[in-house]
Amino acid sequence: MFALLKLIQSLVGALHSEGTPGQLAAGLVLGSFLGLTPLMNLHNAVILALLMLLNVSFAGGMLGWALFVPFGFLLDPLFDWMGHGLLLAPALRPLWTSLYNMPIVPLTNFNNTIVLGSFVFALVVAIPLFFALRWAVARYRETVGARVRQSKFYQALTASKLYNVYRMFRP
């Protein structure tokens, strides 16, 4: 229940933040990497650092993570198939071999079919997802955003302590 409330708070807070639709969409896209790929991997530390360092919506990132985790589980067979195809492609073998024998890179577990497949999938959908989300956020703010902002539900939500924590990382 608390997680659901937090998710709704994040969603509403992010949609009505002072950040631009582009910042929110970028945060969501970075969050999608956390949700689509297996979490405990080195590349996700880099994604987390980017979420904090880049001027994108951190709340959008957390929201993207929460939203895309179920898709990650659901699409694992596809990721496995993609990763298998990429890792065992004869044309790419020299690339993987040199990466596998480099310092640090093997610690990303890129040689795992799920990790590579999901990362490549997230990378491929990142650009279309960014533009689609930016358009959707802009449309939301133009249409129903103002009415939601004046609703009692929104007032109650933004008055909670969690919202204050969120404001620390708002763009």
Binding site: T97, M102, P103, N112
Partner: protein, 470 residues
């Protein structure tokens, strides 16, 4: 009119550098605090997956600044016996190469193992692969293969029929002796009738009487009595024809007798077949020497070699020859594990390498006179083709002299192992159905077995074992 200038959005959020550094600092502190615990759990988990039996560690300390790992209280359960450990070690000290760790490669320059004990009892069942033989995971599959291989030596000592014997099985019509005897009897009767008829048609008596009468007439006839002479010539012709008929009958009788004798022999073999059939119904064992030897000594002598074969096959899976990419099951996690693909590269370090290990250990530590052994291991690598040298292992002690070479450097692996084991106790067994228990160890207190196995290629070896009892 110009449009109002939109404020430029900054790319970096510099104020987040502090919290980010604090975050990574916390991660670093947690690593320092829990690295030993994490490494211990990871080692236990990986060890259990690799060996197919529980691996437990009391304490593990990482000292990466000095390239050392110390393990205290290592217990590896036996993959084959439920309440027995494969080994226990008081202390293992490993000297690591730290730099290859950044490439996710574990290079152990030297491993010293102290206080090794083998075959100690344990309170819980530590088997993992044996309980899921044939399932997922390399040890489970290897366990199923070695069990199948060893089953060819498992000859039952004595197995009598149990339960009801089906009436159908005892149907006299299924026996071959009776029809064969009936057919032979019919043939004998038929031959007898044919011979009697042939004898009756000989008519030798009238011919002889006629010849005697002609002879008497010749005695008193004159030399010019042509009619008598002619009669004598005809009598001689009749005698010749009678002789031919007798000879022909004799030949026919001899052939018939031979045929009946052959039928009698066939009857004997049919009788033996029926005996074998009847014996098979009550499952009486054969008492051939090879079967008796295998039944008595097989289970006791083959068990150590089944285990050696298990570890050899594991080595083949974990130390494959060649430099081609190879996939293995990925790490267990909530999400799908996927597959890890390794990409060995020429002139690079292998993923795992144990350059040298010195072992000193006790067998039967609880006995009055524990047996002290010394062992060594060199060149244990996950990519033998990269290391370029075969793995060598050896152990010597009071009841064991063993050596092994695992050569997976080239495309075709060659594994050679030789061992002489002493102190094998042959199993006692109860003879089913009778109050009799045979105990070979009562007459021959201990046995020994020597074996040398060479396995080239990818087939399970044809082991040449020579059990002997003293």
């Amino acid at each position: 009119m110009t449009a109002p200038a939109t404020p430029r959005v900054k790319i970096f959020r510099w104020k987040a550098v502090g919290p980010l550094l604090v975050f990574f600092g916390i991660v670093g502190v947690l690593w320092i605090l829990f690295a030993d615990t994490i490494a211990r759990h990871a080692t236990q988990k990986v060890g259990t997956q690799v060996i197919g039996a529980k691996v437990e560690i009391t304490d593990l300390h990482l000292d990466l600044s000095h390239g050392k790992v110390m393990i205290r209280g290592l217990t590896v359960a036996s993959p084959h016996e439920a309440f027995r450990n494969l080994l226990q070690a008081d202390e293992l000290v490993a000297d690591l190469d730290v730099v290859p760790l950044t490439e996710k490669k574990l290079i152990i320059n030297r491993l010293a193992a102290n206080g090794l004990r083998f075959g100690t009892p344990r309170e819980t069942d530590g088997r993992v692969a044996a309980k899921s033989a044939g399932g997922d995971g390399v040890p489970s599959r290897v366990m199923a293969e070695t069990r199948e291989w060893a089953s060819q030596f498992q000859v039952p000592v004595l197995q009598l029929a149990t339960g009801k014997i089906s009436i159908d099985s005892l149907d006299p019509r299924k026996l071959s002796t009776i029809p064969a005897a009936e057919a032979l009897g019919a043939r004998a009767d038929s031959s007898q009738r044919a011979w009697k008829a042939a004898f009756d048609t000989l008519r030798v008596g009238p011919t002889l009487d006629s010849a005697n009468a002609t002879l008497e007439k010749l005695k008193h006839a004159r030399a010019t009595d042509l009619a008598t002479l002619n009669e004598a010539r005809q009598a001689i012709e009749r005698l010749k024809r009678a002789q031919g008929r007798v000879t022909s009958l004799e030949r026919g009788v001899k052939t018939g007798v031979a045929s009946l004798q052959s039928g009698l022999a066939g009857l004997d073999s049919a009788k033996r077949r029926d005996y074998a059939f009847a014996r098979s119904l009550v499952k009486l064992p054969t008492l051939d020497a090879p079967h008796v030897g295998a039944a008595l000594f097989g289970p006791g002598a083959i068990r150590p070699f089944e285990r050696v074969l298990y570890y050899t096959q594991l080595a083949r899976r974990y130390m494959p020859p060649g430099l081609l990419p190879r996939a293995s099951t990925g790490p267990a996690r909530m999400r799908r594990a996927g597959e890890d693909v390794r990409f060995p590269k020429e002139h690079a370090l292998p993923g795992f390498l144990l350059r040298s290990a010195e072992l000193s250990f006790l067998l039967h530590p609880t006995a009055e006179q524990p047996q002290r052994y010394a062992g060594h291991l060199t060149g244990f690598s996950s990519d033998p083709a990269l290391y370029g040298r075969p793995m060598l292992a050896g152990a010597t002690g009071p009841q064991l002299a063993a050596g092994a070479m695992v050569n997976h450097v080239h495309d075709i692996p060659v594994d050679t192992a030789g061992a002489t084991l002493g102190g094998i106790t042959f199993a006692a067994f109860q003879v089913p159905g009778v109050p009799l228990r045979l105990d070979p160890s009562a007459r021959c207190s201990r046995g020994s077995a020597s074996a040398r196995a060479t396995c080239a290629g990818y087939v399970i070896p044809d082991l040449r074992a020579a059990p002997s009892a003293t």
